[in-house]
């Protein structure tokens, strides 16, 4: 493969993004209005935050399929507490605690028992969904207005969800690029055995990565609660696919060791949201959404493997 096509592949997420904007922009002028573009960023925040956590996991050559279920359980607990009259400053930390408990479970089985990550997190996905349905008794819960206010609040003119997304992105970027921990994450993804021989405590780093993913899921659940104002039985469903797709679209390798949250995962999350938003703006058949999303995931994985092979 020559240099031009390699550069094209590296730029693929960016090119895809521009193409999608152009296609929907031509179909409907409303799509490119600044109000709608801000909307895309705000709507992308919850998926984007999960995708940042997912990027950490993917960088170590693992995967976390349980993030959507973790969001659901955290939101279900939050909903119950909110309806029972607990104040927000108590509910939010509890959501974080619930999510961390779940991801600690993932971390334990992946690092101590050494079970394949996708099977552990597939199991916790089902356990979490079952648990969440049990807590909510399969009914939708409408939350007090305080949540919705939080979701539509602005600080210095920036919507709070976007601000949280930005914050998570900034911290994650700094951790990955400027800290020893970040370098260890990359090292493990490149080659676990080598990392071990180099003296990295791989178990600890791996455990931390799943905890980070759980923490991000908790933040994403907060954002989603603020935007939806309700917990339905479908809360967070298939979020894991969107998150993996966003990370991989942004150039993170499924085989570990390669990728970044900025600009990669950010672009990936915006791209996915832009497609969904665009489909709504042009009044596409809602039944087509899952098919289009899966095709996008597939293309992103394929592009990623092409990139991988050129190195």
């Amino acid at each position: 493969m020559n240099r031009t096509s390699r550069r094209l592949l590296d730029l693929a997420p960016f090119l895809l993004f521009v193409t999608v904007l152009a296609i929907f922009g031509v179909q409907s002028p409303k799509f490119l209005e600044s109000g709608n573009l801000v909307n895309i960023v705000v709507q992308a925040s919850s998926t984007g935050i999960v995708a940042v956590g997912m990027t950490f996991v993917l960088l170590t050559a693992g995967v976390d399929l349980s993030v959507g279920a973790i969001m659901f359980v955290a939101a279900a607990v939050a909903g119950k507490m909110a309806l029972a009259g607990w104040p927000l400053p108590i509910i939010l930390p509890v959501m974080v605690a619930v999510a961390l408990m779940f991801s600690a479970c993932n971390a334990f089985f992946v690092t101590k028992v050494r079970v394949a990550a996708f099977i552990v997190t597939l199991a916790t996905l089902f356990i979490g969904r079952g648990l969440g349905l049990r807590i909510t008794e399969t009914r939708a819960m409408n939350l007090p207005d305080s949540f919705l206010e939080l979701g539509s609040a602005r600080w210095l003119g920036v919507p709070l969800p976007a601000l949280l997304f930005g914050g998570v992105l900034l911290v994650a970027h700094l951790v990955l690029t400027r800290t020893p921990f970040g370098r260890q994450v990359f090292a493990i993804g490149h080659d676990v055995e080598m990392a071990k021989k180099a003296g990295i405590r791989t178990g600890r780093v791996l455990a931390a990565v799943y905890l980070i993913s759980g923490l991000c899921a908790a933040f994403a659940a907060m954002v989603s609660l603020g935007q939806l104002g309700a917990v339905s039985p479908k809360f967070g469903e298939q979020k894991e696919f969107a998150a993996i797709a966003a990370a991989v679209l942004g150039g993170t390798s499924l085989f570990g060791g390669r990728g970044n949250v900025f600009p990669g995962t950010l672009l990936g999350a915006l791209l996915i949201q832009a497609i969904e938003n665009g489909l709504v703006v042009v009044n596409a058949d809602p039944y087509l959404y899952p098919m289009i999303t899966s095709v996008v995931i597939f293309i992103s994985v394929w592009l990623e493997s092409l990139r991988n092979r050129t190195r």
């Binding site: 199991a123 356990i127 039944y287 597939f298 493997s305």
Partner: protein, 326 residues
Amino acid sequence: MTAAATTNHKPQTKNPLGWFLSEYLGLGLTVLLFLALAPFTPGLATSNNLLNILGYLLPLLIVAIGMTLVMISGGIDLSVTSIIALTSVVGAKLMTGDAGVPTIVGVLTMLALGAGLGALNGAVITLLRLPAFIVTLASMMFLSGFAIWLTQSKSIYGLPGSFLALGQRLPISLALTVVLALAAHLMLRRTVFGRWLYAIGQNATAAHISGVPVRAISTAAYAASGFCAALASVLLTARLETGSPVLGREILLDIIGATVVGGTSLFGGKGKIAWTFFGVLFLTVLDNALNLLSLSQFSITITKGAVILFAAVLDAVRSRFVVRSS
């Protein structure tokens, strides 16, 4: 990789852990479970209920057989439930209405569609060298979305009686399942195809160097899995008398769980049809007993999630233990 490479022979049974690691674990667990629960569970040991268990077991076993082949080759197929749903609605669409095709044509179309979709999965995985779980995850989403779009999420009724008999007459479904299981068993034990499948699962690179047509054989395993899913879809669709775009959606975990509980390794290179049968038996009895104990659907989902985790842990422990002892 070294773990998978050394685990094909029978685990030693002299160790106290031996029974736990032996190939009859699934069967042993089923018997234990049955004996433990029978006194407390009204109606568990009645002949009516046992027939009921059998009716639920057959389609699950059929899909699990396909999954076993794929797992032996070191892959995984998450798209089976969506193949079940899609073949169900396509078959039902063909066989109902005024221009309905004869049952035999409908069934053959379903089977061909299933095998074709499986082959497509396999071709994408092997030709583009993508991870099996992400490819089949994407096709799971796509095919399920396609089935729902095709029917606008409505179920299809009015299937011909000759088709319904396939799922509702126990001797017919039993015969179909037994023939498939025997064929798969013989193919694994007695044919070059079977040897190659194990070889690929143990070490694909080594198999390739030794002249095994790795891509064709892996693709064939996914095609077989798609075929099995379609056959299960025939039984399920006929039993429910409905072509449903969400058919089988809830049994993915059962399929993987049953296969792994039986002893087929997620790392490839190890597995048997008989093990899968034991695993399916275990999971079906568990499910049935939990239902009879009138536990809520959520608790059953949670229990099954726990079971698959347990199975995966067992698999990891088993492969590590066998490495150490050999």
